[in-house]
């Protein structure tokens, strides 16, 4: 029975009891508890069900490596699945529930899988469910999906907020154990900018538990004194920062590190963000990430109550919790003796220590024996008794095949298979590993480190993370590496005295990958490697037998190490079994790749502040608020939003669009054209430059005149268009499409900086300096004359001319251009007075029937005039020649961007589809994107096509459907009727016509 002890618990504040619930049951704990320690204190050892067989699962570990104790945590907007109980700090009102069972934890229907475990081996799914075909989708897969998965899916919007934080440091120390602190001290004293981060809420790490038990001392004093003094010394240094609850999640190229700070997980009612994702740039990274204890592989090692030896003593020392009254310890190394000593000192019973080593251990074994704990050397566990809780163990000889010598009653087992350095962060960016035979583990190969932008090693592992398994070695290693890191970061560190250390030397460990050594199949199929994913020794052996010899194959075939703990406990044991099965040494088998993050981090933290209002920038024109207030229906255009139409109450969007077109053609329409790009191009070579940028000749444009221009990519395709105005002798103003401004400006600068850098040209993107308003319709001139200040008569300002002055007392530049075919002016005024000017126009225009119109009306009017629209008639595969725009391709120029490309065989191919107008025979509207079919099918059995619709509308002006399209030999087929099958099942017949549907002679715009 696990329970709270009267004494001990250095993390606990017994003055602060807290209440929490588990599966609805109200339980008590203390501030300082983790959810795991509190559950154990309440006798709750079984906490979940495994992934595949739904076997009972208990807490195994005390930290980030925990594979089993995953909880549904919180409720509503703060509900979160798969919360690791061992890293969840307890708080008052915490709600937790176990996962992956139905109807409940004690009785789980899914557990029938366990009954079939004999058949559900590795690779089962690949060999099964093949016939009959439809059953996979409709029966097998749904069943598998239901029984898989772990926690429940959150349902509500996340109630918390998140943020990012960017810092640059000289030395980042990851891990706040004694090695990390010592390394930080050495680096800090050199004046280097140091940041020390620790994932838990406490400094000191493992040594705080182990050394007192081993009676180890640093500088003649207990370890906690050393830790406290070092911490205090670091706190005093202005160049050193220390953070708890901040985990090193990932190491990326060029010294980039992700830090995952959990700010309010332990205090959910506190203000501020829940998590903060640190983006750290460090010149050097010291990884003092410690080591993780390995389980032993014996039959029944997954029964609740079987735990890592280190965890068992952590719970006693840190939380004053015993995992059982009678704990059998089983080990292949000395460290587990500390657990026995801890239990004994806590007044609990240790019926025996099974040491698989024939000779047993060293000083610590002696210490344990002196406490009267029986030690059996060369012995192993043949089998664990019990199903939902350990009831005893059957003992055998390690060297044998599991013949049971005797059984010992116990309610918990503390196991230790040795220690593996935490090499994840070292490996994320390409650090290689080397096999350490003495400790039977992989440690960083410092000769093959991850390298930074200068090609130098930028990660430095220290302490047990570097395989320095004795505290004395760890401190020396840390001091040296701390200095090395500071030096590499450009500082001059002086040696820091490492305090002398007394701590018992451990006897050599002995690798034990299977217990007992000759365990038969019946035992191997009950010996777990991966507790969460249900991978057993027999599974890995089967993978090898079937030829999955690469470690990656074996991993993927068995799912070993693919659970939420990413194999922190199982990888090395699995590798060893695989190597043994392949009859090759472990280093030859190698490891799978370590990928970030070290432990899972919240999506919320990754998204950071970018949610809701600031998910993405929305670009606004000076008149945005007015549009909103007048019922604009918005359309995103790049990051801009433009009014699609202004539906009035009780008016549909479509009706609004129709009204806007009619009103503009018959009276007066106003369009917010501020989003159009405006780029100043100035200099002695500006004309020459624009002749390269545009297909047209721009250098010959007269001052005061405007010209419509086309821009192509160097690959020949039409990319942008707009009106260019010549401002003065060496200055041009180029208009681009909405949202095209930045890319066109970038495009210009690219050519100027990287190809024609000797040309004297400056550009400036002045798009947002101006609010631009299109004043369109028969009454356009009237309203401008009424506002007054500028002569806009036909004589004073002819078509395709511009002039500068004042209108309504506001400085303005008026362009006499038309995209609608109507009498039209585009007026640019300072953005700071855009709204005032717009309102002045609306007010003065009232008597002339002024109404705003949106992008859809704009589109329809340009289509009625047969003007192309970038993005509709073009899609990145269309060249000006396809659109009958030859008139815009200057013949006088021997070069412009795209000219050479347009000479390639396929671009000159006469069978390219060409732009035409399309008129449905019955006046209906052609479906958007419809294709015109031709006879027969192609070699791949697809229906042949001969054209497609590029834009299609109902024209209120002509009261019929009009469209533009690209059609094979289109311009030569005027009057011909072709067929467009719609996805609605109808076939639309349309006549090929001239694309100009309205005012072919352009009389209206020239008045």
């Amino acid at each position: 029975m696990s329970t709270r002890l009267a004494k001990g618990g250095r993390f606990l504040d017994k003055g602060k009891p807290v209440t929490f619930t588990f599966n609805g049951k109200r339980l008590k704990g203390y501030e300082g508890d983790t959810l795991a320690s509190a559950l154990l204190a309440n006798g709750q050892v079984m906490v979940g069900r495994s992934f595949k067989y739904h076997r009972p699962r208990g807490i195994v570990a005390s930290g980030a490596e925990e594979p089993n104790a995953l909880m549904n945590h919180g409720a509503g907007g703060t509900f979160e699945p798969n919360q690791r109980a061992t890293t969840t700090e307890l708080y008052d009102g915490l709600q937790a529930g176990s996962q992956n069972h139905w109807p409940n934890l004690e009785f789980d229907v899914g557990a029938i899988n366990a009954g079939f475990s004999r058949f559900l081996t590795a690779g089962f799914y690949y060999k099964m469910f093949i016939h009959p075909r439809p059953l996979w989708k409709h029966v097998y897969e749904p069943f598998i999906r239901q029984s898989a998965g772990l926690g429940k899916a959150p349902k509500e919007q996340d109630a918390d907020t998140y943020e990012h934080f960017n810092v640059n440091v000289d030395v980042l120390v990851i891990g706040g154990g004694i090695a990390g602190l010592q390394a930080a001290l050495a680096a800090g004293k050199s004046g280097a900018k140091v940041l020390v981060i620790e994932q838990t809420a406490h400094w000191g790490g493992r040594a705080m538990v182990d050394e007192p038990l081993a009676e180890g001392r640093i500088g003649g004093a207990p370890v906690d004194k050393f830790v406290e003094e070092t911490r205090a010394a670091l706190e005093k240094m202005p160049n050193v920062s220390m953070r708890l609850r901040l985990m090193g999640a990932g190491v990326y190229d060029h010294g980039y590190v992700l830090g995952y700070e959990r700010l309010t997980d332990h205090a959910p009612t506190a203000a501020g963000p829940r998590h903060r994702l640190w983006r750290i740039r460090a010149k050097r990274i010291v990884t003092a990430t410690g080591a993780i204890e390995r389980p032993l592989s014996f039959a029944g090692n997954d029964v609740p109550g079987v735990m890592l030896a280190s965890a068992v003593r952590d719970y006693v020392v840190n939380f004053g919790v015993s995992v059982g009254d009678r704990v059998v310890v089983v080990t292949n190394n000395d460290s587990a003796y500390l657990t026995a000593i801890a239990m004994k000192k806590a007044g609990l019973e240790v019926p025996c220590i099974l040491d698989a080593r024939p000779e047993g251990g060293g000083a610590l074994m002696q210490a344990a024996q002196d406490l009267g704990i029986p030690v059996e050397t060369g012995k192993a566990i043949a089998k664990v008794k019990g199903t939902r809780r350990v009831t005893g163990v059957a003992i055998c000889v390690q060297a044998g095949e599991g013949a049971v010598l005797k059984e010992i009653a116990c309610d918990a087992v503390a196991m230790s298979g040795g220690w593996s350095p935490v090499v994840h962060l070292w490996s994320h960016c390409g650090g290689k590993l080397t096999w350490d035979t003495g400790h039977a583990h992989f440690r960083p190969d410092v000769d093959n480190p991850p390298r930074d932008d200068a090609g130098e090693a930028f990660v430095i592992p220290v302490g047990t993370a570097n395989g320095a398994m004795h505290i004395a070695l760890a401190l020396e290693d840390a001091e040296m590496s701390g200095r090395a890191a500071a030096k590499a970061a450009g500082h001059k560190p002086k040696p820091v005295a490492t305090p002398d250390v007394t701590s018992p030397q451990e006897a050599a460990m002995e690798p034990v990958w299977l217990m007992p050594q000759g365990a038969p199949y019946e035992l191997r199929m009950k010996a777990w490697l991966d507790f969460q994913n249900d991978v057993k020794v027999s599974d890995v052996q089967l993978a090898a037998q079937e030829g999955f010899e690469s470690v990656e194959h074996a991993k993927r075939y068995t799912t070993l190490g693919m659970a939420t703990d990413q194999g922190k406990l199982s990888n090395i044991n699995g590798l060893a079994i695989l190597s043994d099965a392949l009859g090759q040494p472990i280093p030859q088998t190698g490891t799978t790749t370590f990928r970030p993050p070290y432990t899972p981090i919240s999506m919320g933290a990754i998204a950071g502040e970018a949610r809701g209002a600031v998910f993405q920038p929305i670009r606004r024109t000076p008149m945005q608020a007015w549009h909103d207030a007048h019922g604009a229906d918005w359309e995103p255009v790049g990051h801009w939003r433009r009014p699609y139409a202004y539906p009035r109450s009780s008016e549909s969007v479509h009706d609004a669009v129709m009204r806007e077109v009619k009103n503009t053609r018959q009276a007066l329409g106003l369009l917010d054209a501020s989003t159009l790009g405006k780029i100043i191009v100035k200099g002695p070579d500006a004309g020459r430059f624009l002749d390269m940028m545009y297909t047209n000749m721009m250098s010959t444009l007269k001052v005061g005149k405007c010209r419509y221009g086309l821009m192509c990519s160097e690959n020949g395709f039409l990319t942008d268009d707009g009106v260019v105005a010549r401002i003065d002798e060496d200055t041009w103003l180029c208009h681009t499409t909405s949202g095209g401004a930045d890319s066109v400006h970038g495009h210009m600068e690219e050519w100027l900086q990287t190809e024609w850098w000797d040309w004297k040209v400056y550009t400036a993107n002045v798009t947002e300096q101006y609010a631009q308003i299109a004043v369109v319709g028969p009454n356009a001139r009237k309203v401008l004359e009424k506002l007054g200040g500028m002569d806009v008569s036909k004589e004073a300002l002819g078509f395709m001319e511009w002039k500068e002055g004042e209108i309504a007392g506001i400085p303005a530049r008026a362009f006499r251009i038309s995209f609608s075919g109507e009498l039209s002016y585009e007026i640019a005024v300072p953005a700071s007075q855009g709204l005032a000017f717009w309102e002045a126009l609306m007010e003065a225009g009232a008597e002339f029937g002024a109404m705003p119109y949106g992008t859809e009306a704009l589109h329809i009017m340009r289509a009625e005039k047969g003007f192309i629209m970038i993005g509709d008639e073009t899609d990145g595969t269309v060249i000006p020649q396809d659109l009958g725009l030859h008139w815009a391709l200057s013949k006088k120029k021997d070069d412009y961007l795209g000219k050479r490309a347009q000479e390639r065989s396929h671009m000159a191919d006469p069978t390219r589809w060409k732009l035409v107008g399309l008129e449905t025979v019955d006046g209906a509207v052609l479906p958007d994107g419809a294709y015109a079919v031709a006879e027969g099918t192609n070699a791949n059995g697809q229906r042949n096509v001969q054209g497609r619709v590029t834009s299609t509308y109902h024209s209120p002006t002509l009261d019929r459907g009009i469209a533009m399209g690209l059609v094979l030999h289109g311009p030569d087929r005027m009057g011909e009727v072709i067929e467009f099958p719609g996805v609605d099942g109808k076939t639309y017949k349309a006549k090929i016509v001239d694309p100009v549907f309205y005012d072919k002679d352009g009389e209206k715009q020239n008045v």
Binding site: D158, D253, S602, G876
Partner: protein
């Protein structure tokens, strides 16, 4: 080859699984083969499989420098769809999709093809028009897709936020028979079938040179000796340029990193695959329960199989906005692969300037879904010298300016 079946499982279950054979043999290379395929990824193995199945060519070696299926085949987000715009793309991807339908039975290996449906969200007017165009094209290409409205999107994906403040969902292009498959199983299933036909799948065999006599290829040099062949198919995504160099010609390719990530597993909450191109992210839920997430590529050449984290941020940001509930899920693992991208982002399945040598590359971010169709067409190209599925994908199209541009329809690839 012993067939896989429920009976076999029952039999082996009762005798401690001692009867299972190797899924594929691991032979020593012979001195010569009719055809050598370089690269034992999905595309290479599928090519070999259809050489045998459709053309009876079984004296074939598939050479793999690492472990089979260890490249992008084992690193992608397993999406299968064929709702492409251009005829030549739709043809090869739909061929692939239809072969996926029966792959488990064809290979006697459960590749877990799950035709759960793929939808591409339309979140701007421009996207609506683009996808309506694709729907029209697909109807004529024999690809079954439809454009559906927001309500139906919500019905198919209850966890989606269809009226997000920034980009409300205006509709979607829906391919009901698109879906996912177990990526490793595809490679393993093909390898097992090839091995069963007597082909040699040779792992840890790196090609170090390509031997020619005049304009004709006659074999390859490898770290396990020289091997002769009459025909050579190079299918080594990410490293095609290096192989082309060995043969003395160049390819219009660039290699960049593509990243993906998975969440911790949760109980089923999303039954279809959703791609949101405006905000650059896509997501599906694996049978294990993980949310499988991908996004855009890095924009610089990179052979490290490590990407830049800001792409992960952009993708997750987009998906948290689209699926608010994932905010409190956790990223379990992120990884990267090397993809090679051509000038028009469409693949190359082509003859080369070297007689008898063929290349299959440039799948960019979309290769997995094409594996069987690519193998089918490329096998035909190698066996017969031409294939309707491959014609348009010639490496010489860039010279003529005859591109196959899909960006028209989809912003992000996958």
């Amino acid at each position: 080859m012993k067939r896989y079946s429920a009976f076999a499982i029952a039999r082996e279950g009762l005798r401690q699984h001692t009867g299972w054979e190797r899924a594929w043999a691991s032979p020593e290379p012979k001195s010569s083969y009719d055809v050598i395929i370089v690269g034992a990824g999905g595309h290479g193995l599928a090519t070999a499989y259809y050489l045998g199945k459709n053309f009876g060519i079984t004296n074939v070696a598939i050479l793999e420098k690492g472990w089979l299926g260890g490249g992008n085949t084992g690193r992608n987000t397993t999406i299968i769809r064929s709702n492409y715009l251009q005829d030549s793309s739709a043809a090869i991807y739909e061929k692939a999709r239809s072969l996926y339908e029966t792959m488990s039975q064809d290979l006697n290996y459960n590749v877990m093809f799950s035709p759960r449906g793929v939808m591409m969200l339309a979140q701007t007017q421009h996207e609506i028009r683009g996808y309506q165009r694709t729907a029209h094209a697909n109807a004529l290409q024999g690809v079954s897709t439809e454009f559906i409205g927001p309500e139906q999107v919500k019905k198919l994906v209850p966890i989606i936020n269809i009226d997000g403040p920034r980009y409300p969902v205006l509709g979607a292009l829906w391919q009901p028979r698109g879906g996912t498959a177990r990526h490793d199983a595809v490679a393993w299933g093909y390898a097992r079938a090839c091995s069963d036909m007597g082909m040699h799948v040779i792992q840890k065999c790196e090609v170090t040179g390509i031997r020619r006599e005049g304009d004709k290829v006659v074999g390859v040099d490898t770290n396990r000796g020289a091997i002769d062949c009459n025909k050579l198919g190079v299918v080594v995504a990410g490293h095609s340029g290096q192989l082309a160099d060995m043969a003395g010609f160049r390819l219009p390719l660039e290699s960049v990193a593509l990243q993906a990530l998975v969440s911790e597993p949760i109980k089923p909450c999303m039954d279809v695959v959703v791609m949101a191109n405006t905000v650059h992210g896509y997501m599906s839920q694996s049978d294990k329960g993980e949310m499988v997430i991908g996004g855009g590529t890095d924009s610089f050449n990179n052979f490290t199989q490590r990407g830049s984290f800001h792409h992960i941020e952009e993708t997750v940001r987009a998906l948290v906005e689209t699926f608010p509930m994932i905010s409190r899920l956790k990223m379990l693992r992120q990884w990267g692969g090397i993809v090679d991208v051509t000038g028009d982002r469409s693949p190359i399945l082509s003859k080369t300037p070297v007689d008898g040598m063929f290349v299959n590359c440039g799948w960019g971010t979309g290769g997995f879904k094409a594996i069987p169709g690519s193998g089918w067409g490329f096998a035909e190209l190698i066996a017969k010298g031409d294939s309707p599925l491959c014609d348009e994908f010639s490496m010489f199209r860039f010279r003529e300016g005859k591109f196959i541009d899909e960006s028209v329809a989809a912003g992000v690839a996958h």
